[in-house]
Each structure stands twice: as C-alpha cells, then as structure tokens.
C-alpha cells in the first residue's frame, strides 16, 4: 500500500520538492547578503538610541528584492497549506471515486481502512513536512529583519513592522504551519469523500480554509491563553498622542495588545479627548503659556490606559495551543473520512 500511495503521489511530491528547492535557492542566494548587511549595521552590541539608528541604517540598505522575498516568503507559507489541501487532499479520495478505481483498490488484499490510513498518513505528513520546511528556511532567512524590527526602528517599511504576534507572522512561524497544513489537507480529503467529486471539493476546501485562516487571528487566537492586564500612563502607552488607545505596553515592548481603553482619574472610560486637553497649554516658566500634547495634558489630569495584553512569554504556549487545535480538527476530519468510507459504498 505504501508503494501504491507513493506511486500515485510521486509526481506531486516531485513538484513540491522542486518548488521547495527553488524557494530554498532563492533564500540561499539572498540570505548571506541580508546577514552581512545586518552584521555591518552595528546593531550587534548596540545600546539605547544607537540601536534604533543602526536598525534604520539596516533597513535603509535593504534592496527591493529583499522586500519582495520577505513578502513572497510569508505569502508562500500562508498559501502552502491551502495548496496542499486543494491539490493533494481534495483529489486524494475523490479522484478514486470519480474514476471508479476504488473498485480496483478495495478488492485487492488490503482492507479499506488500511488503504485510507496509508494514503492519509503518507500524503498528510508530506504536506506538513513541506509547509514546515518552508517556514524553517524562511525563518532563518528573515531572522535579521525580525531582530531589527524588534529594536523599534522608525524607518522600517510598514511591511516589516510586524511583531511576532502579528497575524501573518504568527501563522507562518514556529509550529503553527504544521497545524495549518494538517488541517487543510484533512479538510480537503474529507470534502473529497463527502462530495465524491474533486473539483467541488477543491473549491469548498479553499473557501473553508481561507475562512479559518481569517477567523483564527480575529476571533479565536486572542482567547486561547489568559491575558495579562495592566494600567499605564497615557503618555507611556499612547504613542500616537491623543488616540486614546495603547500602542505599546510599558515594560513589554513586543507584547500583543488585545484591547485597551482610556480611563479618567475616577476610573470611568472616556471615548474622546476632554475639551480642556484638545489644544492644551501650561503656564510658561517665563510667563505666558507653552503648548503641550493632549497626552501630557491628560496625564497631568490623572487619565490612564487600561490594557489587556499577551506578553512574549505566552508566545510558545499560544503556538502550541493553536497548532493543537488544528491538529485536533485534522484528526476529527480524518476520522470522518474513515467513518464515511467505511459506512457506505463509494
């Protein structure tokens, strides 16, 4: 059965390996340049403001190609599970049902369960391995950029300014690609078993997987691990002065801010900058007035920010939980395929 699975999967596996190799060559060709830029940017061993300027220098020297590769890599890792689900998962069983070759396969000397188990396991593990390999070589390549972003460069292109909790970064790094790949593959297979037609199964797989990819960061991920709560002065938290929302958690520069709101001195939430602080002034030292920022004004009146956030220490627990959820969904979908094929004739 392993032989047959491999024989049927061979062409797809070679395509995937070729794509992976092409991507690896692209990264290997541009990676050393990126690393040497980083090494010569004086970021290593910097202190305080020197770090920010060193990071600025680094970003200033990045070539357009580096930006393209950076985005291409993220896109590829996010799209890989969908591609596996659509082109490996959906046709895996549906093609056998369409071409009626299941009649041949299921009357050889292997049971239907063995047949499906080997097909699911081999192809599914391959899908997971390819996606995770993409993610790992990309993480190696993008490491200098990630470190420079962490220094709070002010000149980093908006595309790069993504912390490790940002939705695309989180889903493309660490172990989450494993979960996404397993889920997408099992989803495609189960839909193929259900619809018995490859093409509709492929379309529905894409729709459901894209929806899951959107829903996870928007509605699910923020609730997977307990959040921390803190209050901080408006001035420290609200870097975009006067927006009334926190942009940074003092003491936790890379934390994921789940929600924040401004409270007045009495602890009541405020939704607008108080009138007195719209264009605030304070008495000048030498008479007259001098202008201050709304945030400074609000701070002096006892306004503060209530923030709920995830510190970076929760990054790996969150990675494990999200991966676990998708692996569990994948197993449930695989179980469905077994049940459905075993219960009825195809």
């Amino acid at each position: 059965m392993i032989w047959l699975t491999w024989r049927q999967f061979r062409a797809q596996a070679i395509n995937a390996a070729a794509a992976l190799a092409a991507f690896a060559i692209l990264l290997a060709a541009t990676g050393p340049h990126l690393a040497s830029l980083y090494a010569t940017s004086k970021i290593t061993g910097c202190h305080g403001f020197a770090c920010q300027s060193a990071a600025n220098t680094f970003f200033g020297q990045l070539a357009g190609l580096d930006t393209v590769v950076y985005l291409l890599g993220i896109g590829l890792i996010l799209a890989a599970p969908a591609i596996m689900g659509i082109f490996w998962g959906a046709p895996l069983i549906a093609r056998e049902l369409e071409a009626r070759t299941f009649n041949l396969a299921w009357t050889q000397g292997v049971t239907r369960t063995q047949w499906l188990a080997v097909k699911l396991a081999l192809t599914g593990l391959a899908a997971m391995a390819v996606t995770e390999a993409l993610s790992l070589i990309y993480a190696w390549w993008a490491n200098p950029i990630g470190k420079a972003v962490g220094l709070g460069s002010t000149s980093a292109p908006a595309l790069f300014s993504q912390g490790q909790f940002s939705s695309v970064f989180f889903a493309s790094h660490g172990i989450t690609p494993l979960g996404y790949a397993a889920f997408a593959f099992a989803l495609g297979t189960a839909l193929g078993v259900l619809t018995r037609r490859a093409l509709p199964a492929m379309a529905i797989t894409l729709a459901i997987f894209a929806a899951a990819q959107l829903a996870m960061p928007l509605w699910v991920r923020p609730h997977l691990v307990p959040s921390s709560h803190t209050t901080a002065s408006i001035y420290a938290a609200d870097q975009v002065y006067g927006s009334l929302t926190a942009d940074v958690v003092p003491g936790h520069p890379d934390a994921w801010i789940l929600s924040s709101r401004a409270l007045n001195a009495a602890g009541r939430p405020v939704t607008a900058i108080p009138a007195a602080c719209v264009s605030p002034t304070i008495p000048g030292r030498k008479g007259g007035t001098s202008a201050i920022t709304p945030a400074q004004c609000m701070q002096s009146r006892g306004y503060h920010e209530a923030i709920s956030y995830l510190p970076t220490s929760r990054y790996w627990p969150l990675q494990w939980i999200e991966t676990g959820i998708f692996l569990a969904l994948a197993l449930a979908l695989a179980w469905f395929s077994f049940w459905r094929l075993g219960r009825r004739r195809a």
Partner: protein, 301 residues
C-alpha cells in the same frame, strides 16, 4: 461441494428503492456461474455485495465462508473485475502488476507477466491509453494473478467488440480451468454467457427468478406447441413460464420434473437464451400484461 456464495434474504436499498430484495441463493463451488438480467435488475448490486464494496441493508451474505471484505485474508481469496474494468489512467501496465504484487499476498508475478506478454500488452504503456479490450484484459490479469479461489466479474465484456468479447471469454475459460476457479460473471446479454457458463441465475426487477445448473434447467424445461388452447387446462405438475398464441396455435414454455405425455403437444428442447428470456418476460409481463410475445422481448433498455 461447499457454497462459494451463500445469501439469505439479502437486500440492498438505495434511499427507498430496493436494488436487490429478498435474495436467497447458494452457489456451489466449481461452477462458471452466469448472472443474467436486464439493466437495473440488481446484478451489480449483488456482485458488489459479494465483494464487500456494498454492505447489505437486509439479510446476510457469506462468501467463501466469511463476511465479504472483512479482512485481508478473505480479500486475497477473491478476484474482482468491476464494471468497465477501471484502471489507474496514469499508471503503466507494469505499475499495475506491481500494484497487484504489493497489495496481494498470493500474487503470482510469473503468471501476470506471461498473461501480459501473451496479450501483447506493452508493459510501459499507460493504462489510460489502452483500448477497452486491453484494459479489460489488464483488469482480468490483476484479478487472476492474485490466485483467487473465486473470481467475480461484473459485465466484463459489455464494452468490448464481438471479437474481443469472444477472445476475452475464451481466455477466461482457460484460466478458470487451469486454476480450478469458481467464476461468477454477469451480463445483460445471455448470448455471451451461453457458451461459457454451466450454472445460471436470472435476476429481474431486483429479485432472483431462476437459479440452477444449466443441464438441470434444460432438462426440466420444455417448449410445447400445439393447437390453440387455454394454458389453464393443462395437467398438474406443469408450470407455465411463458405462453404465446396465434389464432390456431399455442406455444408454451413449461417447467416440469417429469416427461410431457399429452400427445396433443409437440415437445421440443429449449435453448438457454430462450429460457432466460422467458423468465425475464414473465417478470416484466406482470408489469406489461399485454405483451405476450416472448420473442420480442426487450432485453436491452
């Protein structure tokens, strides 16, 4: 001899429609069994139940003494050739032989290679580019080279031209004789089966109408012709299967255990095809009472 297929009250339903109902059969080993019936009679359903591609909704079925497709051991003892002889279009003939070798414990590669060579099949050719006849031969090779005790073929010659049909059946007979196989094959054309089978099952409208060894069936059925007469006046012990009348003459197909003594009748032998057709028309006649001419039976819809 023990039964290769034994069913009791077997039924299979698709939604509300029974594709096979109340089927009780005991097919002895060592026969070439022809399963005939019009399209939609339930032949494929019965055969798919026998190889475990389907699970019954009523009754029981045992094949070679076990529940079909229950395990590898039983699967290895049954060769199956599905309708339209499916094959993996992207895999070569050689790949299909390897497939058989990897999936079956009793695979006989020497036999498979000899057959493929004898059939002039190109080992490197993709199955998707084979002709219908070649594909059927490849599928038969797969089914035979696993060295089964029972070979089940679902409409194996339906897509073949008359010459390929004859060659295929001849080849099948040789293999069956060589390996002492029990064979069950279905067709909606009795002419295909007449030459090869020694046991006949007639399935019409999801029910078994007739089953038995061919020589026994031929010995107990007679064609009677004589002056026009009401079949109801016949003596006991004669079961009228079909009757056709002209103004002056009546022709009857009857089933009886003893000889027909009445001198008013001219008794003649009935052929297997006419016999099967009569049973099919008997069944369809219940739906179409006016049609009493069994020579114009519509077999192929």
């Amino acid at each position: 001899m023990s039964a290769v297929i034994e069913t009791s009250g077997l039924g299979k339903r698709y939604r509300r429609q029974w594709a096979l109902a109340d089927c009780t059969l005991s097919i002895p080993a060592g026969h070439i069994v022809g399963l005939v019936g019009p399209n939609g009679a339930g032949k494929t359903t019965l055969l798919n139940l026998a190889v475990g591609l389907l699970a019954p909704d009523a009754g029981t079925i045992e094949v070679l003494g076990g529940v079909p497709a229950a395990g590898r051991a039983l699967l290895s003892r049954i060769g199956f050739l599905a309708q339209d002889s499916p094959a993996y279009a992207g895999l070569s003939v050689a790949d299909h032989l390897k497939l058989g070798a990897h999936l079956n414990t009793g695979w006989d590669m020497g036999l498979a290679r000899r057959r493929v060579e004898g059939l002039d099949l190109d080992l490197g050719q993709k199955a998707g580019t084979l002709s219908g006849g070649q594909r059927a031969q490849l599928a038969l090779t797969l089914a035979i080279a696993k060295r089964p005790e029972l070979l089940i073929l679902d409409e194996p010659v339906a897509s073949l031209d008359p010459l390929a049909r004859r060659e295929f059946l001849q080849d099948l007979m040789e293999a069956a004789a060589e390996q002492e196989l029990s064979v069950v094959l279905s067709s909606h054309l009795i002419a295909d089966l007449e030459r090869v089978c020694d046991y006949l099952i007639v399935l019409v409208g999801s029910r078994v109408r007739l089953a038995g060894p061919v020589d026994e069936l031929l010995a107990t059925h007679h064609l009677l012709s004589g002056p026009r007469r009401d079949p109801a006046t016949l003596p006991d012990g004669l079961e009228v299967i079909s009757a056709s009348h002209t103004d002056v003459q009546t022709t009857l197909l009857v089933r009886t255990s003893g000889p027909v003594m009445d001198p008013a009748w001219t008794v003649s032998q009935v052929g297997l095809e006419d016999l099967a057709l009569a049973y099919m028309s008997q069944a369809s006649g219940r739906r179409r009472r006016d049609n009493n001419n069994h020579h114009h039976l519509e077999v192929q819809k």
